[in-house]
């Protein structure tokens, strides 16, 4: 076969470029999109063996705020900024007039509950009052994970929703997407941030800082794959509720004693 040098160079260049491009495409796109069923066993902890769940018993919460305080100390969340990984809300339902039948509810959360709740409404005007601890729900169908444009937030195999601080671009779409207000923008890191269920603790057999700090047992944490765990028993046997179940986020924080007024 007779080809001129020019023809040969032309074909040669096309082949080289095509081959490089082809390899690059295969490597970049196809390998990355295989969500491999790789296990991640590190230091004796295999995430295949656990699926975490959280229970909040609002009938026991006394609003002391030690949980929110411990969380900030454990996870280095700034105290001087209004950002919280967990917080406590107080609901005071006032007595209603017979005409309006509208419940007037006063809700507050002074510094997330870390500061004292002040009783500034006379007791005679209040029907019922209670505390509701709030935290990231680590939803199974998390809207925050869905809307992240680059894949900087994700759900782990053991059911924990985490943020990759080295990859997040700080667009704050996830903060807009969370119906529970659980996410915040971390100014120091320039990324989104949120409760991690103290992933660095639970993978070592410890409890999250907030659960450990709670003096009344209002917060409980455990392994849903363990039939003997307290949270599994509660979820299976007690009457529990979720926050905003109609949104379909499938939260994994289960509430006992969730009143209709809770937002």
């Amino acid at each position: 076969m007779d080809i001129s040098r020019r023809e040969f160079t032309k074909i040669g260049c096309k082949v080289i470029i095509g081959a490089t491009a082809g390899t690059a495409i295969v490597e970049s796109f196809i390998i990355n999109s295989i969500g491999a069923e790789n296990s991640n066993a590190q230091g004796g902890y295999d995430w295949e063996n656990h699926f975490w769940g959280y229970v909040i018993d609002t009938t026991k919460c006394i609003g002391c705020g030690r949980c929110a305080n411990a969380c900030k100390l454990e996870n280095k969340v700034p105290f001087d900024e209004e950002v919280y990984r967990t917080w406590i809300e107080r609901y005071r339902v006032k007595k209603t007039s017979l005409e309006t039948r509208e419940e007037e509810v006063v809700i507050d959360s002074p510094n997330g509950g870390i500061d004292e709740f002040v009783d500034d409404i006379p007791a005679e005007e209040i029907n019922k009052a209670f505390y509701v601890p709030k935290i990231c729900n680590h939803c199974d169908n998390a809207p925050c994970v869905q809307v992240c444009p680059v894949g900087a937030t994700f759900v782990t195999k053991d059911g924990v929703v985490l943020v990759d601080y080295e990859y997040c671009i700080g667009c704050r779409y996830c903060i807009q997407g969370c119906p529970y207000g659980a996410r915040y923008f971390n100014i120091e890191k320039g990324t989104a941030d949120k409760c991690t269920w103290c992933y660095h603790r639970i993978t070592k057999g410890l409890l999250p800082a907030c659960v450990q700090a709670c003096p009344t047992g209002a917060r409980k944490f455990g392994d849903l794959k363990d039939n003997n765990s307290e949270v599994k028993k509660i979820i299976d046997e007690e009457r529990i509720n979720l926050l905003k179940p109609d949104l379909g986020t499938k939260p994994k924080v289960f509430y006992i004693g969730l009143d209709r007024e809770v937002k």
Binding site: V150, C168, G170
Partner: protein, 397 residues
Amino acid sequence: MLENLIWGYVYPNESEIQWSILIVLYPYITGLVAGAFIASSLYHVFGKKEIRPVARFALLTALSFLLVAMLPLLVHLGRPERGIEIMFTPHLTSAMSGFGYIFSFYLIIVVLEIWLSFREDIVKTALSSHGWKELLYSSLALFSFDISEKALHDDENFARKLAIIGIPSAAFLHGYVGFIFGGIKANPWWSTPLMPIIFLMSAIVSGIALLILIYIVAMKIRKHAIDHKCLQSLAHYLWIFLILDVTLELLEIISMKYASREDIDIINRLLSDKIAFTFWGVQLTLGIFIPFVLLLMVSLMKKRDTLKLIMISISSIFVVIGVFAMRWNVVIGGQEISKSLVGTLTYVPVFFSQEGVLPAIIIFILPFIILRVVTSILPPWKDMDEETPELTKVSKT
């Protein structure tokens, strides 16, 4: 001071509003791009000859704004140096992940369109100039100087095919932004399937209005006669799209009120208090109803070109302001209601701040500067001369 900014109960993490005026500016700019492109397509695809004088000018306007579109987002990001991740690992479940590829695809189409429609002029300029000017235009022509009948005819065919792809691309470029908001079930003010199409309609409206204004200003600067037939035709299309726009915007409000779900109380508060002025006053009355009436009168009146010109100008200015208010009401309004549904916040724009009013103003002025530069490299003025040769260089219309 702080007490006035917050009413009711807002989640503790919501105390600061995350998406600022820059995020209001981004859909505004891409809306202008989409609108200018659609206006140009009225000639390139649908063959409306009255639009011909401004068709290429519209493309250049679209490009100028498109080049700036990425800026407000980059400035807003917490980690702008990682912004390229959107192109490297777009998370396809997220509407926002479309940004990189949709934007790039659309940019390529607009650049190709402009290149093909200006190629004859580029080659002619390249062949008749010397020195750095020859180099510039020769590189723009990609060192290929064939402007025979066949070549130009092929160019035109290809340009038309591109414009046909361009229309859904423009719709996508702006529609996906609407979907970014419309898909957020957490926010009752944003969550509606109508959002992409509302955004698109108001985009087209703002694009045409801006085109009208830039055209009038450009003609005044160049002391050139205004093609009233072209202008009134544009005004007519503006009027039609205004009707579509207002129908959709009102439909959304009416549906919400009719369905009257759990969120209706906070939506009512939003519309009657937080954004009452910017919504009823600026977006609807100033931005839609007044232009609607003025443009209706314009299409009914006969002759009286100067008066029509004034009415069209006023309508266009109002529309351009009104669409900005619409973006403001969506982005800022949606964040001024708390996800607790029983509280509101207030956005206080800061002037001197990384995400403040000053960067917004600078970013918005940039496209006009770029347009000035682009029109001196690729002048579209002869399109306008050809239609009104006898009125060229007349200072009074």
